[in-house]
Symmetry: D3
Subunit: 331 residues, 6 copies
């Protein structure tokens, strides 16, 4: 069930066989491991991301996590199971990615929300394409330090620097349905930026984000991303967070988000728009310390699921709910 | 004197015998080590908290620390000594906690401010109760990611998830005198929250804190906590800070404070209200890196003592003192 | 099933319910986790020993491990299952130890070999006593840097420095049935040594071991331990190994064994005498590096089970088997 | 070329011989390593700072780094080369510092901007003095947790606690041309503060910085520092950043900047004033984790060079440039 | 030149262009980096092996290393250069391995000894085949914990578990020319062992090695490996060493060699037989501590080159040379 | 009392003022810290050696350590005190070394055995010379991976590569009274070796040591070192041990001793010859893991003191004492 290490499900939820439609059909959400780092351009290790994200918590593994603020228990109030890992040979990226696309498309076709735990970001090509295979036109909200729109990577089409290019070039997604937040640093160069502009992508570099405020930027993203598309795929590269806050990653870039900014951004998106797929990628345990990065990624998943659950329940429209409301007030 | 490791006093201050009333009576403040992790529900190691907090500084251990901004030297301007560690066998929590309560009550009865270095948070039951034994009704300001109000813990009454429940249930403190700031994450569940509400506790979850601002929240806490009570016990669980900033702790929860937020919150409380006891808990050196967590806890103690000293001296009411005042201006 | 962390069985073997006699009765061996560090006198962390020992391997978790040299697959050729962890509250050592004794005695009474993964060495009192409860007079072969025969420990009867004293004083085992190998360093002092001598214990300090050779010493141990007793309990404290080779432990003492010496010693004992119980204790993951200590402990369990299996199959008496025989020779 | 470890240039740029005026004369910027930690008062290790800062990046070492926001490639648009390390015997601080002063003065005299990678902050005395030797009156903008104005250090004139005192006392810089931002903690004491005030230094302690805002403070610094002086030396002690964000340093002080605050502050200064010299000091790799501190220091250098390049090109005055401008808008 | 990280040559020797026959033809030895971990079955990271092995030394990088005992300077007395890294995309193992084979064959055809720094052991297939392409029938002496003779690996033909199978099945080497020393643990199973026996491989498991002695085993290997073959390829998987001694590796197996046993074994082989190729593989820096594993691998290269140099110079046959000869005796 | 970090004595023994002859005169042994790393050629950090060696033990700090095998308590049976650290500014090596020589000479003149905790090996020049100042002709037994006989070091006379040269050239010791054991690796070159031979030094390289056996070599050393000299200074550079066993050091060289070999060698020398001084150097905590190196150094001190005590008591000549004697036999 786990490609590397002992069989482990996300916080103790039930295992489900990804090949069994009957089992899947009863679910709201399925967790899928994509333990692959054959697409990394520098530090590997994110093959161990799924294992670490599933098992980095310091509470009892009882398949229950009541969200203190949103007042839902995403593992109880949603029907969630863990489909285990897809076998992805590190030296064969094409085969590995194809398996992801097939699995995600099957899940999405059954109306189940796929949550993919990476692995490196090369899996975004098949996992987003897999959802698009099932759902048609979708928008992509992409939290990342890097645009991931290179033409090639070590001379190869596939790798963690190229997935967004492949998605757009393959027609799986339209460039103007891409909303990237958190870019910074020294990559890519002018040619790639020109290609991105020409495809109509909307990329929020950190100078713009800090200047306008993350909240304002996300309001704009939520509004514009759902103009043309009914649903959104949220792709979270953990390196959008500052390397000091999330050191366990492969291609860090200083100057990123705090952990609370990421959690808050995930909540905002998942409360505001209809999310049809989620991935959390680039968690590399060998470079982590005391599991802080994997634990944060675990919380990204829980925050997303809690918010999705909250949205589905319609709590946000209840008169008593408000972010600033005291925790212990009657609800 | 130290239960684990070489005899070490807080930054080189004098040692004092906790059993000698005559020595104690001359003091303003006494540091007490509570090297206990028998109450932890996950990662242990905070038995080494007292040693690490005392010895994590990178300056000379000369029992002097002039605070740059507040312009007091808490180790010189207050009469401070270190009472060493209380012997707390890890496998006998009841005995261990009883020893803390007795020691703290004796100190507080002599009019000395006890500063307890944990150890896990199970020590909050006896150390707060110990002050209450001496002082009567006190308010508790509690910085923490967790409410610590579980009914039981591995089926036991005592442990680091239950101290606030024991305090309230035992009558040592009233529920409506509890002010918790920093809660977040996925614990506790509805039943415990209902108990907390019923007891009148006031718990500021991080959504409220980020929405209203930490400063506004603390203003409210300082105001309301001193309505009924003359003094406040400040209990600082280092896990109120984000795990990436304070990784050396036992039950981390992403999305917490920055280090400067904690230091600033401690300063605000200690400048604003009369503090009759302080503990700093859950520092677990085996999970720390380069001592950053223990060093921060050390600064929490110094910031608290500096602020208390500043308050006692009445500097804040001097016309020339203001936070925004340049460091080198004449005073 | 696991007290701390995700549910994990030893290398992927089946889980068995320790309370279900019917399930147990079909087994040859049951693995039991004793995740307790409430008895440690210095560095804690071995509560995570069971989890780490079960999951530290870098191969597929397929419940199969064919031993290259002994030519048995202990996880296939023996009926082995994993009974999960016994719940052991860290702050209540008496309750925790009592649960171990009850569980081990039940298992042993059913004719199943218990393999207990510690946890600190305080569990040796109940796990050896539990086997003795079922089997009567047993010998104890004890690999350790420390004699573990203190009278008390932080003033308490129970703790990781006292289990062998409690075993002998309680009458569960006779002192002259104890064979300790690997002692060294600076503990205990003359009084305790006198008590040990008076009880007829046989303790091989490292000076004797290095002077006579480990192999010769073990030959003597195997011979004498089975003079009066039909079976032997093998208790392996990982700190018998040098701290540089097994850093993940709580009370290291330089000058110990190499990893290959421990594996070879375990093989010798388990091939030579009838083993009725095994524990592997004092693995403390927070002090480990790259899992080397937990991995070694995992191999101690496999080496023991492989040797026991080999012994039961009678391979050693086959004409073709010999340690110096080439691996690929026909068998 | 490298004093410690393999020959390495900053991100793959060309090596230049610091003794060859002809080679130097063609450059805009030269990187100089000052691998010295003989002046540290606590944790050493910053002798490896230059090597780590040059080689901590996770991209290809191709001497190109196009800045995403400022739209310049500092390693291409400026003529930058790496002069390697100055040999600085750790036990002879006077000789070591003299070599730095001579080298920096030669470079500055040729009109080349020196960027010195420390090494401990004792090098600020010779590197700032070296620029002053060439340029005359300069202002110093100094980002640091510490004032570095001690009279002596272990009884010695030179060391990382004294450089600013030596600069002012030697007449190389005037006290009222010093602008320190980021001070905090418990050093120095009143006597040294009095000396600083008497010399007219302007020191922004963190209470003032947080109270007024970093941006407002920097606006004031940029304005006042260039009243009397045409150019500014920017000295960046990495410990101005919080120890949790930049753990790899020698004398950490909790409560510092976030990484993005440092990068933004460096950008502001280098865009706003004429910078004639830069040092980045106190990066101590043995205390770092996953290279986060060295990587941040690398980005400080790139941010400074990108901003200097931007300023020289006059982009900031172009109508289309603004921080809040979308990344992919036409320029 | 370096695929990952700054351009670095082995201990400061000259760089040579692997595509330039003229440059190569003048050499005795060329170092080649194979920075590939796309073939690993568990922990990745050995893509950084070449960089770490080249740069892990704590002496000056002056391209000189006089061997204290053998009295040669392998970097001076042999003509050695560093050909840099072969570009090996981690996700395309077939392309990556093909590039290694081509490069090694070219080098070997020019009469230059190739020394390949891995990378994972999948590179042994192309690097040994590359030498065989040039030299014809060669023997392989293979130090490893694992036989590396699996049929497939995650369903793939190529990977670090299969190279020896591919070599033999492809006809590049004959099975009875393989001499494996150091095998142990729980892999492979009976089927693979039967295949190995059938092909006539000679595999020395550690039980045999410890029972007969490493020296005796190596004497036998040196004698028999050169019966049919004029030259030997020496393939050193660092995991032949115990994981506690060489923790920085991907698939550790407890019970291995000490560092001095590996160095001594390398010396023995390289002094005794004609070596036509060498690889040192599976060094994974993310799992290393203080560079001990990379440093050992660096010493394996130096020990091999020193011994080869010593053999070529014929020193061993000089009357005055003997291992037990005092260092400072006249020679 | 401690130059860096909290005041700490060796395992809790009394502090003594090194300037007070009256206090010193009553002692058998005095521990002296030499916290200096200004002489290191690569990794610094050994300034923290004294603190780490004093405080790395995992037992109670009660100034008692009964040696299990030798049956003495060196901290009780000898009069031992800790003189604290000598203040040694890292940037002024000449001043620092002069202070060591003065202090050691005073101690030795009073008939007290000095035990110096380094610090880098540059301190061997003053500490051995200091004993020679008091005692006249002494032999030096020197356990080290390196000869430390360079002419200069970064162009300087003093540093950790030159102390033995300075000792001999200054006339403090004669070259033919030097006995070096453990040398290996790639330093120094022929010129320095020629100088060593010319001075009559006896250096046992590891090839000779492994070939003849450490015990035989040490027998020879003990015999020949005391032919001309009444007493021996034992200088233990921790890097004589293999870097994997003692990673916390500055200039590691693979292929060294095991921990038990060092402890056994120290015991042999101290039981066999009259030791008049001891230093233990080059312990660098920043590169250590779980304190294994510092703990080993701590045991080197205890093993030496225990053996010296044993020798002084004449136990070795008692009929009942023998290494192979069972621990619990009557004595």
């Amino acid at each position: 069930m786990s490609m590397y290490g002992p069989a482990t499900t996300f916080l103790g939820i039930e295992h489900v066989d990804l090949d069994d439609d009957a089992q899947l059909a009863d679910l709201d959400v399925v967790i899928i491991g994509a333990p692959f780092d054959g697409g990394t351009s520098f530090r590997p290790g994110c093959r161990f991301g799924p294992l670490a994200i599933r098992g980095s918590d310091c509470q009892v593994y009882d398949a229950s996590r009541p969200h203190l603020s949103l007042r839902v228990d995403p593992l109880k109030d949603l029907r969630v199971a863990d489909g285990g890992d897809i076998e992805m040979p590190p030296g064969d990226i094409e085969l590995s990615l194809a398996r992801v696309r097939a699995a995600v498309a099957r899940v999405a076709n059954l109306g189940v929300l796929p949550v993919i735990l990476g692995g490196d970001h090369s899996i975004a090509y098949p996992d987003i394409a897999g959802v698009a295979d099932a759902k048609g036109d979708i928008a992509v909200v992409h939290f990342d330090a890097h645009a991931d729109t290179a033409d090639t990577h070590f001379g190869q089409l596939y790798g963690h620097g190229t997935p967004m290019r492949r998605l757009i070039e393959s027609g799986a997604c339209r460039g103007d349905h891409f909303f990237q937040v958190g870019l910074r640093g020294y990559w890519p160069g002018p040619e790639t930026l020109a290609w991105m502009a020409q495809r109509g992508m909307r990329s929020y570099e950190m100078t713009e984000v800090r200047s306008r405020g993350l909240e304002a930027v996300l309001d704009e993203v939520c509004l514009t991303s759902t103009k043309d598309c009914e649903t959104v795929f949220l792709s979270v590269d953990i390196d959008v967070v500052d390397p000091a806050i999330a050191p366990g990653t492969g291609t860090p870039e200083p100057g990123g988000w705090a952990s609370w900014e990421l959690l808050s951004a995930v909540r905002k998106v998942c409360l505001s728009v209809e999310v049809s797929g989620l991935d959390v990628v680039e968690v590399s345990p060998p470079y982590d310390h005391a599991n802080v990065t994997a634990h944060l990624a675990n919380r990204v998943v829980l925050e997303a699921l809690s918010s999705i659950c909250h949205r589905r329940k319609g709590i946000a429209s209840e008169p008593r709910w408000a972010p600033e409301r005291p925790l212990l007030d009657e609800r």
